[in-house]
Symmetry: C2
Subunit: 241 residues, 2 copies
C-alpha cells in the first residue's frame, strides 16, 4: 500500500463493490463515495445492455450532476476482455490525470472474480502515480449462503471457491479436501455439475442460488427442478459434504 | 428458506454481519436494523473483555433505548463454545418468544467462520418456528485483499480459504490445486506457516493483513519483519502462487 509515488494533482480511482443485488446491502462508505465523485464507470457484459452493478447503484447516483461511463466486455474470452479493459483503463486515466475522481463499480466485491482487477492492473502498470482506493463489498457468496440459511464454514472447516470452468476431477479433488465448495456462475455447466454430483455420491448436497437478495432471487434445494430458464450468469452452487 | 412454520407472534432473530472493522463498511440494511431492534446481542472472546463486533456497531446503537446482551465464548475449544452458544440461544429464544426482535452481531459475515452459526443451528433445531433473517456483511477476506490491493482471484482461478488449523501437507495440497490461499486467524501458527512457505518455495508470496480497515491495521509484505506483538486474532495471510 505504498502511496509515496502518488501524484496529488491527480484524481483518485475508487474500485467499489456494490454488493450482491439488494441496494440496501451497499455499504455506507460506498454510498458516500458514489454520491460524491463526478464520474462513475459501470461495466456490463457484451451479451446484455444492462449493467448489473449499475442496477444496484443507480439510486445512489444523480446523472444530472454525475457523468456515467459504460464499458461492454466479453464474458467468455479472458484475453479479449483484458484488451477491452486496457482501453477502458486508458480513458479512465485521462480523466484521473485531469484531477477528476472516478468510481468504478462492480457487483459483489472488487477483489473476487471482478473485472475491476483488469483495470487495477492496467492503471498500476501504466500509471503508478494515480491513487487507487478499493472499497470492499458484500460478495454474492456470502449473500447466497445467507439466503439459503446455510453457514459456509465454521471453526476448523475449509472452503473452496471454484470458477465456472471445472470438471469432475476438479470437483473430486475439492470434495476430498474441503468441507464446502462454491461453484461460481454455473449457468452453462450446471447440468454437467449435477451429473458429477450424483456420480460423486453428493446427490442432494447442492443448493443453487440465483441473484441472491434481488426480486428475481431463487434458492433451489432440489436441483432436478431447475429448468433452462432458471439459469443465470449471476448464480452459484453451494455444495456441503 | 421455508417460512411456513414461523410463528407470527414471535420476534425475528437477525444475524447481522457488521463488516471487517471500519464502521463505514457496515451496510445500509445492517445500520437500519441495528437502529430498530430492541435487543442487540454481541459475542466476545473469553480472553478479552471487548467485543470486536460491538466496537464496530456501537455508533449505530443507542444503549439508552436498546438492551445489550453480551456473551463470552472460548476461542480454542469448539465443543465448549458450542455449549456456551446453546445456552445463549436459549436466552435469546426467551426474548424472541416474547415478541422482541433480537439482532446478533458478528464481525465480517455471519456465514463465514462466525459464532452465529452455532446460535442459528440451536434456534433452528429447538425453535424452528422462530423467524430468522441473515444480513450478509463484508468479509475480512475481501477487506484484507482490498487493503493489500491484491485481487484474490480473476477469471478461471480458484480460491481456498483455510482455518488456523492446518499443517504443511494441507498447505502443499492447497498450493498444488489453488491459485490463491487465504489462511484465517494466523496468530498462533504464523511462524509455522512462514517456515512452511519457505520450504514450499513460496517465500515472498505471502501478505499478512491484521485488522483490515481499522486504525490498528497492518499490511505486511516482508513477513520476516513480523514480531510477536504484531500477531492478532483478527489477522489473515493471503498467499498467491
Amino acid at each position: 500500500m505504498s502511496t509515496e509515488a502518488v501524484n496529488p494533482n491527480y484524481g483518485c480511482l475508487y474500485g467499489i463493490g456494490v454488493g450482491p443485488g439488494d441496494p440496501e446491502l451497499v455499504t455506507i462508505k460506498a454510498q458516500r463515495v458514489l454520491a460524491s465523485v463526478p464520474i462513475i464507470c459501470a461495466p456490463h457484459a457484451d451479451t446484455s445492455r444492462d449493467s448489473y452493478a449499475l442496477s444496484i447503484a443507480r439510486r445512489f447516483i444523480d446523472t444530472e450532476r454525475q457523468e456515467l461511463l459504460r464499458f461492454g466486455f466479453p464474458t467468455d474470452d479472458a484475453e479479449a476482455a483484458s484488451r477491452v479493459w486496457e482501453t477502458a483503463a486508458e480513458s479512465l486515466a485521462e480523466r484521473l490525470m485531469e484531477r477528476q475522481d472516478v468510481a468504478f463499480i462492480t457487483e459483489g466485491d472488487p477483489m473476487l472474480f471482478s473485472t475491476f482487477s483488469y483495470v487495477l492492473e492496467s492503471i498500476r502498470t501504466n500509471h503508478p502515480d494515480i491513487a487507487v482506493e478499493i472499497i470492499p463489498g458484500v460478495s454474492s457468496v456470502m449473500a447466497a449462503a445467507a439466503r439459503a440459511s446455510l453457514p459456509l464454514v465454521t471453526h476448523g472447516q475449509r472452503l473452496a471457491i471454484l470458477p465456472a470452468v471445472y470438471g469432475i476431477d476438479d470437483l473430486r479433488e475439492a470434495i476430498a479436501n474441503y468441507d464446502t465448495i462454491v461453484l461460481m456462475k454455473v449457468n452453462r455447466v450446471l447440468l454437467d455439475a449435477l451429473a458429477n454430483l450424483e456420480s460423486l455420491g453428493l446427490a442432494g448436497k447442492g443448493i443453487y442460488v440465483r441473484r441472491a437478495t434481488t426480486e428475481s432471487e431463487q434458492v433451489v434445494q432440489d436441483l432436478h427442478q431447475l429448468t433452462e430458464e432458471d439459469l443465470d450468469y449471476f448464480s452459484l452452487l453451494i455444495i456441503k459434504r
